[in-house]
């Protein structure tokens, strides 16, 4: 379990996160939703320690992230996989090398063992035989999937996904949601997903937190979200034709 306790984050005078407290449970897909610019990415980067928080603290199973030395932080990161909003694949490496990189860096596996793991991960994201392609040769959806494969290559305990299916067609988006959900159940990872896709929310929202302008506005699950009378959340949920029809 990961717990954020009263965290605030400023960029200059701009308070991007305002006193947020949230718990993210093991074996569940914990969704963070909110409009563009509401602070989802910043929140996720605070959770993984890429940004320091200005107030409050973050605990990984009772280990306080901000109190750790940089060595301890680096150790905990070996249990952590993250999918960045833009993929963040290493341009200079092909798909296989990208996924293999954390394995080479942190394990003593032989090349054959690593290759087996790479192929296993590629298989999970339905991208067999793309080993030798370079990031510039991948489509947006393939980039996301390779990035997921890289995020899970070390079998992480904590999995962070920043908008795993934005910019993808509905079918691929669904496949990726299912994949992340499956991995979460199968390996009992603590999974945190940023999204503004209501399809994902209704499908895999074990726990949902709604961030509005840097504040935690609402929390619940995929069933409760359709029945809420919170105005801002309702505007968000029923912003599309599809969800509006669903309500009526």
């Amino acid at each position: 379990m990961i717990e954020a306790v009263n965290i605030s984050k400023f960029f200059g005078n701009h308070e991007v996160l305002k006193n947020i407290s949230l718990q993210f449970e093991k074996g569940k897909t914990n969704l963070i939703i909110g409009r563009s610019g509401s602070g989802k990415t910043v929140l996720m980067k605070c959770l993984v320690g890429l940004y320091g928080v200005d107030k409050g603290h973050i605990d990984f199973d009772d280990r306080n992230l901000s109190k750790m030395t940089s060595k301890e932080q680096r150790d905990i990161r070996k249990d952590l996989g993250m999918l960045f909003q833009g993929g963040a694949l290493f341009d200079s490496m092909n798909v296989e090398e990208n996924i293999m990189f954390p394995l080479t860096m942190f394990t003593k596996k032989t090349y054959e063992e690593k290759l087996e793991r790479v192929n296993f991960c590629l298989n999970r994201v339905a991208l067999e035989n793309t080993n030798k392609l370079y990031p510039s040769e991948l489509s947006g959806g393939m980039t996301k999937r390779v990035a997921i494969a890289r995020a899970i290559s070390m079998n992480p305990e904590y999995l962070f996904c920043d908008e795993p299916n934005s910019g993808l067609d509905p079918i691929t988006a669904g496949v990726i949601d299912e994949l992340i959900s499956e991995i979460t159940k199968e390996y009992q990872t603590t999974t945190i997903i940023n999204t503004h896709d209501m399809n994902s929310v209704l499908k895999i929202g074990d726990k949902v937190a709604f961030i509005y302008d840097g504040e935690l506005w609402w929390k619940g699950d995929k069933h409760q979200i359709l029945k809420t009378d919170n105005k801002e959340l309702n505007d968000f949920v029923f912003a599309t034709e599809l969800t509006t029809r669903l309500k009526n």
Binding site: R77, K78, F90, D91, P102, M105
Partner: protein, 244 residues
């Protein structure tokens, strides 16, 4: 400015650590030998050959007194090349070529979140990205400079022989006249210091790039400008320290 200096020193503190994984470091190092060293051979050769020729011809034209032997042409060419041209001018050229390359490579990785991705994995990013470049520069720049000296002296010889200003014999005699090993040592010390400046300053500029693609361009310009200025400043300091 003091902020930047502090930031730079803190970064260097992160850079000079034992690499997480020897094998990966070695692979990066060889890649940098290629990128920073071998890829620069062409430009170093061309500039050195022409410069050697130019210095030789100029010296020959300036000696119009029959009292001064034409062997002085070889001697003067050798001295200017080893003392100043190869270590300093070639390092300035490398600051342009290698410095901008380092800054834009690392800067691009910064703005596309590749550095964040490395950090999240638990990699010491400063060490992983900058250390191999610094080590490669420290090892390969002296070789490039020696190569430059050899090519420049050859360029001088060729210019003398082709123009007929100085005979091959006189030129070679001049090159060997009163040779002290110390000047080579001096040249190499300068080269190593300049190599460190180029790699570390450019690494710093790239590493702290903020913003978008435009800022990557800005970082790489800054890398070239700052390392060039520092090279000239340290040239003065080292010359003062070593030659007087």
């Amino acid at each position: 400015m003091f902020n930047a200096l502090g930031e730079y020193l803190l970064l260097m503190f992160q850079v000079f650590r034992k690499p997480d994984k020897r094998k990966i470091f070695r692979k990066q190092l060889f890649l940098e030998f290629q990128n920073l060293g071998i890829d620069s051979l062409g430009i170093v050769a061309i500039i050195s050959a022409f410069f050697g020729g130019i210095v030789a011809i100029q010296t020959a034209y300036n000696i119009d007194s029959p009292l001064i032997s034409l062997t002085m042409v070889g001697f003067t060419t050798r001295q200017s090349i080893i003392l100043e041209f190869s270590p300093t001018i070639i390092s300035l050229i490398l600051a342009g070529k290698v410095g901008s390359r380092i800054a834009s490579e690392i800067g691009t990785m910064r703005i596309t979140e590749q550095i964040d991705a490395l950090k999240v994995m638990g990699v010491n990013t400063a060490n992983y990205l900058i250390f191999p470049k610094v080590v490669a520069s420290l090892l390969i720049n002296p070789i490039l400079i020696i190569f430059s000296v050899v090519v420049a002296l050859f360029g001088g010889w060729l210019a003398c022989v082709v123009t007929g200003l100085v005979t091959s014999q006189d030129y070679i005699l001049g090159i060997r006249y009163c040779f002290e090993g110390f000047i080579v040592f001096y040249a190499l010390i300068k080269t190593v210091v300049f190599a460190f400046i180029i790699a570390s300053v450019s690494g710093y500029q790239g590493y702290f790039t903020k913003g978008g693609a435009l800022d990557v361009g800005r970082s790489s310009t800054k890398a070239v400008v700052y390392s060039s200025i520092l090279i000239i400043i340290f040239d003065l300091i080292l010359t003062q320290l070593l030659l007087t």
